[in-house]
Symmetry: C2
Subunit: 293 residues, 2 copies
Amino acid sequence: MPSELALPPLSLNTATVREQWNLAQMIEACARHGIPGISPWRDKLAELGADRAAAMIRDHGLTVTGLCRGGMFPALDAAGRRAAIDDNLRAIDDAATIGARCLVLVCGGLPAGSRDLAGARAMVHDGIATILEHAREAGMPLAIEPLHPMYAADRCCINTLAQALDLCDAIDAEGVAPRADGQPAALGVAVDAYHVWWDPNLDAGLARAGAHRLLAYHICDWLVETRDLLLDRGMLGDGVIDLAALGQRVRGAGYSGFDEVEILSRHWWSQDPDTVLSTICERHLGCVGKPLL
Amino acid sequence: MPSELALPPLSLNTATVREQWNLAQMIEACARHGIPGISPWRDKLAELGADRAAAMIRDHGLTVTGLCRGGMFPALDAAGRRAAIDDNLRAIDDAATIGARCLVLVCGGLPAGSRDLAGARAMVHDGIATILEHAREAGMPLAIEPLHPMYAADRCCINTLAQALDLCDAIDAEGVAPRADGQPAALGVAVDAYHVWWDPNLDAGLARAGAHRLLAYHICDWLVETRDLLLDRGMLGDGVIDLAALGQRVRGAGYSGFDEVEILSRHWWSQDPDTVLSTICERHLGCVGKPLL
């Protein structure tokens, strides 16, 4: 592994400035700031329309590193689970329309009132298994995003990289081995620094995933103190994650894509969005371009 | 595994009513409420004095299910790490004075300003290895408590049961197998429902630990929504943890001790402490005595 690294390309996850800008403004801002990638959330995509968004993203020369998000499979009854499937099929089509590299799956937590975590996890398995064929036909890789264990109840019951990879191997057996054509597996993972930085088994998971299942890499920072479980994520460099070393570990395992910046933060949502983007570019160079002192 | 369970004995962790009562008041309250166990924190023990506390606990017929807490090993320099060792040696002596079943170790997070999680974990290993002989001589089992991954930075870099057991096996090789005399291992774990309920590998860890390394079992509940990372833990039954099933899993792995209730909660600290204890007793029966509907 090299001790220094060429700076990977940046991508802007639209959650980062979701309170300030619409998708059209974000696309223009990425071009203005020299950020070559973008990863829309579906609410922003729906406002602009997938076809218009696709044209505008293409015109600005941006790579779509992902569409956020499918998933949310568990539901109390069969009708609820069916509605989730239908929504995921639409998300796959939207992701294909904008040429996304993957559809990110935030898999869902416990249905309201349930304490059956194993049952929710089984519903996630079944949901992904149900949509995978449509994803294959659309040529759209699905990226399971393991979320931090503090979201197990309300957002995602897939909480470690190893658990996500167990799902991948169970549902997409042919993706266990790399494809001969070098293309990504139909089912893989999105690794987010915020969600996995603590994991003592992370390197084993990254090696197991390999280039073909490592479909996206998201970055932000873990603040000490963290004042809100969801909306207090940190700007690169403001927290305790060694993003330089983590990036090298992810790339050492074969990932060669973008560094997608996703910061859910009331603080950064209250700032001038151009300042947010320029701060991201500076900090990315400072934190990832070379090790922090 | 039986489908119903005799209700395990309760223990009161003093953090649960720490804002309302001193240790003497807690000891009397446990006797008054028919709670047969108590687990003091060291601040409360220091106020009363270990000798006086030991006598008072004995006079009230309570079992000391643990002393909270040793640990906090990582520090930026050798002097800081030495101070932590010295403090842990005193904690072992205090635990022996009050006849605690174990000294709970909350191992510590990143030293201030550090991003070196692997380094902090190595300091935890070295710290426990340094104090284990003194613990053996005092006949005081050390219980590593894996804390929820959301505390990895600021409180404890040991974040899964498997990771805690890896430490146990590395430092206390003779404790891998059960002792012929049925006594607990010199080094084991404290399993807290709040910290481990999300873990997809929990059952494997419980089975691996076995009766001799399962030194304590703490319970409270995970609230949806959780409004504070530290001080918004839930009363039994108010959250999403299936405490009935989890208790059976822990006991199925060989644990035969107390259910120690530890609730760090601004809400419950603002309530009448006798109401808190009577609520705990009711809810323990409702949640653990039989499966919740």
